[in-house]
Symmetry: C2
C-alpha cells in the first residue's frame, strides 16, 4: 500500500495554482495540498471583493488546520491595458513583500494559470526575482467537452482556440479552416460570433456553454434557442463537425 | 467549516475519468473519489499489460478501503484503424457486461478523456445504452505550459493544436497562421516537424517536451540540442512567439 505523496509549499516561492472551471472537486490534489500548506493564498477579486477562484477552492481552504493570510487582488473588468497593467503592478508589489519576507504565496487561478489568465502578468513581474512554480488546472476547454460528452478532437481533426477578442476575419478563418473550434470569452462578442457561424455555414455545428460546472451551468446545443445578444463573460462556443472520423 | 462534497460512482453508469498527464497529484479530487467508489476500474494497457493511466492513478487505487475489479483493455499501438476498432469493439463488449449487471465502471484516461483519447471510441459504443458521464483531466497541453512557465495564450494571440498525424501542409499552415502552436504526438513525426519549424522560420520559437510530470521528464528549449530522429509517443512541441503582447 503506497501513501499519496505530500506536496508542500516552499518558503519564498510564488505558485500559480489552477483551480479548474468551477466544480470544487475539479481542483487537483496538488493544488489542494498547496492550499493546505501555503503561508499566503491570493486571488483576483472583483470590485465587490468577490473571487470566483476563491469560491471554487472554498472547501480546500476550509480544510486547513491553521488560518491562512489571504490577499485579494482587485482587478478592474476592463479591456483598458493601462488600467490592467497598473493593477498587476500593484498586485505584484504586494505579493513581492510577502515573498521577500520568506513566505510561500499560492495564487489561485480559475481554469489553468497559463491559458488566457491573469497569472501570466504576475509571473512576468515576479519571475526574475523569485522561485516560481506553476500547477496546471482543468481549462474550460476540456470541461466543455466533458459537459457536452463530445470529443474535442479525433484522429486527423484540427483544433483551434480563439476568443471573442479576435476580429471577424480571424473568427471566420478559424471556422473555415479547422474542424473543432472553441471560442472563449464569448460574452459581449456573442452577436458577432453568431453572425460568423451563419456566414461560414457552421451554425449546426455550434454548441454554447456558460458557467460550466457551477450551479447556474447552461448548455445550448441548438443555437436557434440562443438569444442574439451579449452574454456573460464566462461563456464559450464549442464548434464540432456533425460527421466525425471513426 | 464546510466539508468537501463526496462524489460517488452510480450503479450502471459508465464514467470516463481523466487522470492528467503523469504526476499522480494532478489527478482531480473528483476522479480520486470516483476511483474510491467504483465497482470496476478499467484502462488501456499495452501488450505487456502495463497501463500508464493506472500507473498515474496508483495512489488513488491504493487508498481504496475495499478491493476493486480491474479490467485492462489491451490496445495495439498501431495506426491501423481496423485493428484499433476491433479492439474497441471487444473492450466495449466486456464493459457492457459489467454495466448490464448494474456495476459502475470508471475508465481511467491519461490526460483528458475527450482530447485525442481512446475513451471517445468507447463512449461512442456505449452511450446509446448506458448513462455516461465524463470527468475532465489536465491535458498535456496545459501541463506543458506549466512546465515551461510560459503562457499558452495572451490577449489576441491565436492558439492551435495539431498533431504529428497531420500532413506537412497542415503543419506549415498552423505554424504560419497562429501565434501559439502545440504539436501533439510528435513521436515518429519529429524529423518532419523539425523541417517545418525551419521552413516556417519558427525554429527559435520551439520548445520540445517529453514524459511531462513523470520521473523521466525532459524539456528542451533550444531545438539545436534535439536530435533529428524519431522520439517517444509521449512527446510534443510547444511553439510560442519570442515577443509576447503586454
Amino acid at each position: 500500500m503506497s501513501d499519496m505523496p505530500i506536496y508542500t509549499a516552499t518558503a519564498g516561492t510564488f505558485y500559480g495554482a489552477g483551480v479548474g472551471p468551477g466544480d470544487p472537486l475539479l481542483v487537483t490534489m496538488k493544488t489542494h495540498q498547496l492550499i493546505q500548506s501555503a503561508d499566503v493564498v491570493s486571488y483576483i477579486a472583483n470590485t465587490d471583493g468577490h473571487s470566483q477562484a476563491r469560491d471554487i477552492a472554498r472547501y480546500s481552504l476550509a480544510q486547513r488546520s491553521t488560518p491562512v493570510e489571504e490577499v485579494a487582488v482587485p482587478m478592474p473588468m476592463s479591456t483598458d491595458r493601462i488600467l490592467a497593467n497598473a493593477a498587476y503592478d500593484q498586485a505584484a508589489e504586494q505579493l513581492r513583500q510577502h515573498l521577500q519576507a520568506g513566505q510561500s504565496v499560492v495564487f489561485l487561478c480559475e481554469g489553468d494559470p497559463l491559458f488566457f489568465g491573469s497569472f501570466s502578468y504576475l509571473l512576468q513581474r515576479l519571475s526574475d526575482d523569485f522561485n516560481c512554480l506553476v500547477v496546471p488546472g482543468i481549462s474550460s476547454v476540456n470541461a466543455s467537452a466533458s459537459a457536452l460528452q463530445q470529443p474535442l478532437t479525433l484522429l486527423q481533426e484540427s483544433f483551434v482556440v480563439v476568443s471573442g477578442r479576435h476580429t471577424d476575419e480571424q473568427l471566420r478563418s478559424a471556422l473555415e479552416q479547422h474542424d473543432s473550434v472553441v471560442i472563449m470569452k464569448a460574452g459581449r462578442a456573442r452577436p458577432r460570433i453568431l453572425a460568423m457561424l451563419h456566414a461560414t455555414g457552421r451554425w449546426q455545428d455550434g454548441n454554447y456553454l456558460e458557467y460550466i460546472g457551477r450551479d447556474n451551468q447552461r448548455i445550448i446545443n441548438d443555437l436557434d434557442n440562443l438569444a442574439d445578444e451579449p452574454g456573460p463573460y464566462f461563456s464559450l462556443f464549442v464548434i464540432l463537425r456533425q460527421e466525425r472520423p471513426a
